[in-house]
Symmetry: C2
Subunit: 87 residues, 2 copies
């Protein structure tokens, strides 16, 4: 079983009020030197079977049609090794 | 300027209704073979200056105290190259 991670972030030109709220709060909390914060979503999908090109293409399609709103969001699909068994 | 990514996910033992809702919707939408979905948050922080050990320690502290609720959430801090200038 493999894990595929889909990261969904607002496009750079879209205003991100959540990220801005975090960024503005940082100096108040004593954290300086961070010029920008963007907040997005991370989906971890556990895939049955091998993650071959067909499976990745399906997940790409899934992310595009369902996880991200591509009018305002960009997404990336990454395969991640499931190395957490020893945790 | 460097980008540091903080991923915040619910701990594995915590119920994730958002992820479950996505997972249950997938077969209906024609996507089979995904046995679990977890949804979390991704923060992209643009850091002024070099990301040395001190800066990373500060960001770790920030993530722990402010971005994640460590009672129910795990987080990871990763440095990412800003290679998107050519996009």
């Amino acid at each position: 079983m493999a894990r595929v991670v889909v990261d969904v972030m607002l496009k750079p030109e879209i205003l991100d009020p959540q990220g801005q709220a975090v960024q503005r709060a940082l100096p108040r909390l004593g954290f300086e030197g961070i010029s920008d914060v963007r907040q997005g979503k991370r989906f971890e999908l556990e895939v049955d079977g091998p993650v071959d090109d067909t499976a990745l293409a399906r997940i790409h399609e899934l992310a595009e049609s369902f996880l991200a709103n591509t009018v305002i969001e960009d997404f990336t699909v990454k395969v991640e090794e499931v190395a957490e068994a020893g945790k």
